[in-house]
Amino acid sequence: MPMALPWRTKRDLTRQQQWAHGPIDMPFLMLTLLLLGIGLVMLLSASSYAASVSEKTHYDPMYYFKRQAIFAVIGVFVMYIVSRIDYQHMRWMGVFALGIAIVLLIAVKVLPYPLAISINNAKRWLNLGFTTFQPSEIAKIGVVIYFSASLSIRPVAQIRMQQQSKQFPRRRKRQSSLSYWADVLSWASAKTGLGELVPYAVVLVIIAGLLMLEPHMSATVLIFAAAAAILFASGIHWGWFVLGGSTAVLGGLFFIFVIGYHSSRITVWKDPWSDALGKGYQVIQSIYAVASGGVSGLGFGLSRQKYLYLPEDMNDYIFAIVCEELGLIGATLIILLFALLVLRGYWLAIHARDRFGSLMVVGVTTLMAVQVFMNIAVVTNLIPSTGISLPFFSYGGTALVIQLAEVGLVLAVSRQIPAPKQG
């Protein structure tokens, strides 16, 4: 018997709907589930000791694992739901997602405890009662969808812009000089392509500004990276990226060397042992864990650093425990899985049915790639420490659900990839 679709037979669908019911991309799904599985098991190993000695977790070694597993199940379900959505509907959702994100980012700043929670002087979490979540996660998705939707129709906007920039504006009669110069400015911005970038820049500045108020450096970097990737993929002139990139580098240097907090962070980054019991402690413990692993690792479950040495070992620093237990070989394999996931993501972007899909997948994939890179770079002290979790591995229910929802988005795009012509 041919399998019937839940509510209609395929025959009854419009062509649009039929496209939305193609097969999801199995390699991407499998890589995701594989990493999710490994992540869960490593979380169990990393968290069990800390959980078993803490009153907060009722001395239950499985505490973190259980919660994460529940969220993983929910996340996979959400992923499935999202993957079934016809992502074309998201074109108009982008603006709203962005709007909600901005509202939530403001809310997290202004709401008092316990509605908004701050940890280590960073106010990043909204309290939902049963769990907490970071509005920055919504902001990531909002930016990706909005940028993708908006930039996917860039060719039309470009034509209009080309028309606008054809001739130098002439001063009309009774036109005020102010209005005339505005015309000149708009001509110039259309001619250079700057005008097209302004709305995106405004969005980014607003989001980044709100994030830096929390403060949340890593989310800012991630959103910038994803936005830049989408802008880049959509065909914006590469010169802007050179300009933007150098600005970012200069800005980063300014931050690093001019603002005190960050500059002590830099000192610790260069030599964690300069403040071994203070700011350098976590990094040192992480380095110890990574290095102790050696080539083949101490063996699964045999980390020593998880015995309350490495703070946040089930969270941002879980990869250090992975390195310690599984060694260079295991860590490299996991990095390889992430790399494959990312590569498959871009592959899906290349093959997506339309530019909107492509750009959205580029955004989501870039988010994931940069997040993985930054997390592992922090854990191995390649870059100064910043609070960033490892997708599918770090403890954090809502983040995991949102991560899987993003994967669902990619899968949704993958469903609409036209099948190659047969024969």
Binding site: R91, L343, A349, L382
Partner: protein, 829 residues
């Protein structure tokens, strides 16, 4: 056509041209998305992971070993188990130095603050729930501070200050707390659940049961181990190797026992057995202390007693000395009185120096800093002087200080002369009171000269011209060679730290005048140990030994791991020469300048020495004595460093003692030798000289009739008186076997028991021997004279008695009475 374009279509009419344009733009945009995404793929799918893998390789492979070691270091707690320091025993296995466990008391202000926080929380909860608040309603810091300040006698405010540093987890508040206090602190910790807030760390403390016995030899320890004396010299042997328990622990320091644990046993230190005998050592020390006081020596003194055949040091006493259990405190009165004077001197010198500096600065037009302008306060000067005094009391003068040996050195010259054959016992010398060498005139102690004398007489008189003559006969080269052979030119090699050597002219400066002065032991300096060791070689058969204080060392299991080497360094002179020397030196004691060292029944030989110092009116007097002279077993050196002259010029002390080796050091050496020989089980063997007119053993008269008793006593040249009216002797004083001077009157009890009551000891000081005998006999006491031989001279007076005046003693008791002949002097000039 997708939605965006549809919207555009709807906006208005679109020309065919526009439609074409849009299609082309779309195509171009799609192409761009493709090529750009491929580039992103390369960057984010491949490139960014490369540095990550490289960094992992760097950490996990390149730096793996180094970082893992550091990780393991923090992951394990290695509890050091301190090894117990070895014990130091004397020759009779009496404990001289021993370690025991004590505790350091540590506070953790952080834990106290945490505990307080926990209490406060519980208190709030209890209040909320209406439960009993009493268990939580107290202040941790108050409890800790009040109790500990009481138990450890500490200042409360100081403790509170330490508690205030709540970041700290380690504040040591008391060191080396002994076990009774430790138990009280443990109780405090238990009853208030203060584990973690207050804790005890084991430490060790060194105890010296005999306090100042052999202080400079044993030395002491500080926190880093042996700091002085044997404790420092044998640090490696004594300290042992601490053990280790390595346990895995978690990040907050809790041991993870089931993870892994490793043990390395502690190896306790070795035990050291000394040749020093605490009895002999205490003889040396008490004589030294007693006589340093009496002679008012300004720089203390030294007594060394050594076994002749092995070089084993039996006793080595120094004055001033100190308590090893409190080594930084000066207790010696002379030293303390000097501290004040020295402090004043330092203060004055500092003032002068500052004034000079100011004057110079003014002349140069320079500004001085406030520090440069301020002279030392008296307190600063006092502290400096006190510190100097502390150092000086630690000094082992026997091996670090040097002095001019003076006439005692003549023994070596005599031995060298005899060995080289340049003189023999029949040689004669003429002394005219002085001798001219080169352009210098050297005088003899007897200004008028000793006249014609035999070799034995020349040595006995300590005649400088005679010894100079011997030295000249030996000659520069041979003489200098003998300095080497007698071990004068190098440290003796004694097993004590900081040994010095002599200060002798180099050979190219050793001319005929130097040879002359060296012949009577002047103008060069040796350590007391070198002098004694060289002298020992003269009398012990000619063998130069290595003096040593450590007899053997055993490991904790009792196996001997080290035994002192008693093989001679070299034979300096032949056995026969040595015997000849010993005989001549015995004569010095029995007949000449050394006669104050005479002890009836023992054959003592020796040589006096009185050496000049650079300051007029200050002498170092010494005596080297050995016994028994026919087969020397023990040799002693007694030095008194600068006895205080009554007027600063003449050689008499305020007590009337003549400042000379013969008058001061010889009697001490004689008494000491007698005591040591007694202790070592030597029987007094009275020579015929001793017996005629002097001593006899009391026969057993019990049961005899008076006639029989009379006969027996007559043969012993004793008289008697009778108490009672029985037929036979029922009791006698003194008891049989006791030695009594001949011509003493003994008491016979006929039919009545000898009384057992006691009499009070009279004071004999200053009496002549005859008066002393009379005084004692009146009370039924008897006298055994020691000290000067032939004591029936007009210059012999009693200087000491073995029982203090006023003590109750039994009738018949034989009192040792010391006599000194004040008519002996061997001043070098």
């Amino acid at each position: 056509m997708i939605q965006g374009q549809a919207a555009l279509w709807r906006k208005g009419s679109v020309t065919v041209n526009q439609e074409r344009k849009i299609r082309e733009a779309n195509k171009e945009a799609n192409r761009l998305v493709l090529s750009r995404t491929v580039k992103l793929m390369a960057v984010f799918g491949v490139l960014i992971f490369i540095p990550l893998i490289m960094q992992l390789y760097r950490l996990q492979v390149v730096q793996h070993d180094e970082l893992e070691e550091r990780a393991v270091e923090q992951q394990t707690s290695s509890l050091s188990i301190s090894a117990s320091r070895g014990t130091i025993y004397d020759a009779n296995k009496n404990v001289l130095a021993i370690s025991s466990t004590v505790y350091d008391v540590i506070l953790s202000p952080k834990a106290i603050a945490d505990k307080q926080k926990e209490l406060d929380e519980n208190l709030a909860k209890a209040k909320e729930k209406g439960k009993d608040t009493a268990p939580y309603d107290w202040n941790v810091e108050d409890v800790v501070v009040t109790n500990l300040s009481q138990l450890l006698e500490l200042d409360e405010n100081g403790l509170r200050e330490k508690c205030g540093d709540t970041n700290s987890q380690y504040k040591r508040i008391a060191q080396k707390v002994e076990s009774d206090t430790e138990a009280e602190i443990r109780e405090l910790i238990d009853s208030y659940h203060l584990a973690g807030c207050v804790y005890l760390q084991p430490n060790t403390k060194r105890y010296y049961p005999y306090a100042n016995l052999a202080a400079q030899i044993i030395g002491f320890t500080n926190d880093s181990g042996g700091a002085y004396g044997l404790e420092s010299k044998f640090e490696a042997e004594l300290s042992g190797n601490p053990g280790l328990v390595v346990t895995a622990k978690n990040g907050i320091g809790t041991d993870l026992m089931n993870f892994f644990q490793d043990y390395y046993d502690a190896e306790n230190g070795d035990n050291i057995y000394l040749t020093i005998d605490s009895t002999i050592q205490s003889y040396c020390e008490s004589y030294l202390e007693q006589y340093c006081k009496r002679y008012e020596t300004q720089y203390g003194g030294v007594i060394i007693a050594m076994e002749c055949d092995t070089g084993a040091i039996l006793g080595m006493a120094m004055s001033p000395t100190f308590d090893l259990n409190d080594y930084s405190t000066v207790t010696d009165e002379v030293l303390l009185s000097k501290v004040e004077q020295n402090a004043k001197d330092i203060e004055a010198a500092s003032k002068e120096a500052v004034e000079a500096a100011i004057a110079q600065a003014e002349a140069e037009g320079r500004e001085l800093t406030a520090e440069e302008k301020t002279p030392k306060t008296y307190e600063e000067a006092y502290n400096e002087a006190y510190a100097n005094a502390v150092y000086s009391q630690w000094t082992n003068k026997a091996i670090t200080d040097t002095y001019e040996p003076g006439s005692t050195f003549k023994a070596m010259v005599l031995a060298a002369g005899l060995e080289e054959g340049v003189i023999d016992e029949n040689s004669t010398f003429d002394c005219g009171g002085s001798v001219k060498i080169d352009t210098y005139t050297i005088r003899c102690s007897a200004r008028s000269g000793h006249g014609h004398q035999t070799l034995a007489e020349a040595v006995g008189h300590s005649c400088n011209p005679a010894l100079i003559a011997i030295g000249q006969k030996i000659g520069r080269e041979k003489f200098y060679d003998y300095l080497y052979r007698f071990g004068i030119m190098e440290p003796t090699g004694i097993d004590l730290p900081y040994e010095n050597s002599s200060n002798v002219w180099p050979y190219d400066k050793f001319h005929i005048t130097e040879l002359a002065t060296a012949s009577f032991g002047q103008r060069f300096q040796v350590t007391p140990m070198q002098e004694l060791n060289a002298f020992n070689a003269v009398v012990n058969g000619g063998y130069l030994m290595t003096p040593h204080v450590v007899d053997h060392i055993t490991d904790p299991a009792g196996n001997t791991v080290y035994t002192a080497d008693t093989t001679p360094v070299r034979q300096v002179i032949s056995e026969s020469t040595s015997a000849q020397c010993a005989e001549i030196l015995e004569g010095v004691v029995s007949k000449f300048t050394g006669k104050n060292a005479y002890q009836p029944g023992y054959r003592i030989g020796g040589k006096t020495g009185t050496s000049q110092t650079l300051k007029k009116g200050e002498w170092i007097v010494s005596f080297v004595g050995f016994a028994p002279a026919d087969d020397p077993d023990v040799i002693v050196l007694v030095i008194f460093d600068r006895p205080k002259s009554v007027d600063g010029v003449s050689s008499v002390t305020a007590n009337g003692d003549v400042i000379s080796g013969g008058a001061m050091a010889a009697p001490v050496a004689g008494e000491l030798l007698a005591k040591i020989l007694d202790y070592r089980g030597y029987e007094r063997a009275y020579s015929s000289d001793d017996l005629t007119g002097q001593f006899t053993a009391m026969p057993d008269l019990t049961g005899m009739t008076e006639t029989e008793a009379n006969q027996a006593l007559q043969s012993k040249q004793l008289s008697y008186r009778v108490v009672g009216s029985g037929d036979t002797v029922t009791g006698q004083i003194p008891r049989s076997g006791n030695y009594v001077p001949q011509n003493s009157k003994v008491i016979l009890y006929m039919g009545v028991d000898a009384p057992t009551d006691t009499v009070e000891m009279p004071n004999l000081k200053g009496l002549s021997p005859k008066q002393a005998i009379q005084a004692l006999n009146d009370l039924g006491l008897f006298m055994r004279a020691t000290g000067a031989s032939g004591y029936y001279t007009s210059t012999t007076v009693c200087t000491g008695q073995s029982v203090d005046p006023g003590t109750q003693v039994q009738r018949g008791y034989v009192v040792d009475v010391q006599f000194t002949d004040s008519d002996v002097a061997d001043s070098p000039d």
